[in-house]
């Protein structure tokens, strides 16, 4: 028997997108498969690794632990929506690049979304606040040192631009 499809409307990176999904479609899969936004990475699919983190109405959440139907009508920002309209990198993205805060890059979209929200809520975080803020994102390459540096650098860049 075919599964019931639900018509939902998501505002993704500022654009209203209408899709039909079964109730069990994870937001991560909806973004990647239905909407073709493959920047959101899927690592563990049980909420541990943080690669799939996106912003839901501005707050970081695990898209692999959210059903697309549950967030019908809400605003989603993915890594594709962090850069400027002209494609210029956001301060957080620039800082990650400058500080060599990524190697293989698989975890990076999740870090970028998490850190974007972290610095919005706390523009000048202390070291321990940075570590607490990114504690739910795993990186197997960098050892985190450069990621922590990048968060501080992003805070500087944002401060300069403000």
């Amino acid at each position: 028997m075919a599964e019931t499809l639900h018509e939902i409307s998501l505002t993704v990176n500022g654009v209203v997108r209408e899709v039909k999904v079964p109730g069990r479609r994870l937001l991560s899969d909806c973004l990647r498969h239905e909407l073709g936004l493959t920047g959101t990475h899927v690592g563990c699919e049980h909420g541990v690794c943080g690669c799939c983190t996106v912003l839901l109405d501005g707050d970081p959440v695990r898209s692999c632990l959210t059903f697309a139907v549950s967030v019908d009508g809400h605003e989603i920002t993915t890594v594709e929506g962090l850069s400027g309209p002209d494609g210029s990198l956001s301060p957080v993205q620039r800082a990650f690049s400058e500080c060599h805060a990524l190697q293989c890059g698989f975890c990076t979209p999740g870090f970028l979304c998490t850190v974007t929200a972290l610095l919005r809520d706390n523009p000048t975080p202390a070291d321990d606040e940075v570590v607490e803020g990114i504690s739910g994102n795993l990186c197997r390459c960098t050892g985190y040192q450069n990621i922590v540096k990048a968060v501080h650098r992003a805070a500087e860049l944002m401060g300069d631009e403000a």
Partner: protein
């Protein structure tokens, strides 16, 4: 790692939610934050035929400080409860424990009631509800509401008193009387992970700062949070002259942890003694500080 198929329901009001749940009976499951349920679905450890998504039931998104405590509605996210300064004033143990629940990103979506109903004996919030003698309010279609005290709410690992067709609509965390302090201490292998051992403590002092009441709720050492009455062991003494080694020994004697891949039973027993003692000492200090502040105010 994809969830099994289910019939999805998205009620807009509490009455409708209860009606749908009643119809689904034992095959229905409630979805709120989903931070425990969706991993279980993704790993196919659970496969309910009906999922009742309460995220649109606005009347459950409540957080009220009144009547001597904090009443948390079924849609209040961990993050909202953690950030509320009125909650922190009325029941500071909630914020203390919430900071230990998973990671900030999980807490943006997860709910306090969800953590209680999930009833993981390693989780912080069931221990908090237990040590505070709080309660959970359950509602069912056409059947009114019932309040279940924490002691009767947790019935086994991942098992609670919620019956098929029932919805946990809120939980009540009582405030503490004056000169009473609380604390939560735990040790986990990884930050934000379930604790290998931990203890929530509440200590009350008399006017001469002698301990008159003390209890701990221990996590990860039994099928449900293990509540231990510690008043007698603390022997009506000021914190500084309590025989703390005897307190830790008493805790170790009264628990029966199991070993697993994360920790042996013997290590859990030892650790729980250390953490219970530590939490009781901090709670006693908090309680004394409370009187100090009152003295300054008065």
């Amino acid at each position: 790692m994809k969830p099994p198929a289910f019939d999805y329901h998205a009620p807009r009001g509490l009455g409708e939610a209860l009606e749908v749940l009643a119809g689904a009976g034992p095959h229905g499951k409630v979805l709120a934050g989903g931070q425990s349920l969706i991993p279980l679905l993704n790993m196919r450890l659970a496969s309910p035929s009906h999922l009742v998504d309460i995220n649109r039931v606005a009347e459950l998104d409540t957080l009220v400080v009144a009547d001597g405590g904090v009443r948390v509605g079924a849609l209040a996210r961990h993050a909202a409860v953690e950030r509320s300064s009125s909650v922190a004033r009325a029941q500071p143990l909630l914020r203390t424990a919430l900071k230990l629940v998973a990671h900030p990103v999980i807490r943006n979506r997860g709910t306090v009631i969800g953590s209680l109903v999930h009833a993981d004996p390693s989780a912080e919030l069931p221990a908090v509800l237990t040590v505070l003698s709080g309660s959970v309010r359950l509602a069912r279609h056409g059947g009114g509401e019932r309040d279940v005290p924490a002691g009767a709410f947790f019935t086994g690992p991942l098992e609670s008193a919620v019956e098929p067709g029932e919805l946990a609509v809120s939980a009540f965390f009582p405030s503490l009387p004056p000169r009473t302090g609380s604390a939560f201490c735990e040790v986990a292998r990884r930050h934000g992970d379930y604790a290998m051992a931990g203890a929530a403590a509440v200590v009350g002092l008399d006017e001469d700062l002698r301990i008159v009441s003390a209890k701990v709720a221990c996590v990860s050492v039994g099928p449900v949070p293990v509540l231990l009455e510690m008043s007698e062991v603390c022997a009506h003494r000021p914190a500084a002259s309590v025989d703390w080694a005897a307190v830790a020994a008493s805790v170790r004697e009264r628990i029966d942890p199991e070993g697993d891949i994360h920790a042996t039973a013997a290590y859990r027993r030892h650790l729980t003694g250390v953490l219970a003692e530590r939490a009781l000492r901090i709670a006693a200090q908090e309680a004394a500080g409370e009187q100090g502040r009152e003295g300054l105010d008065g």
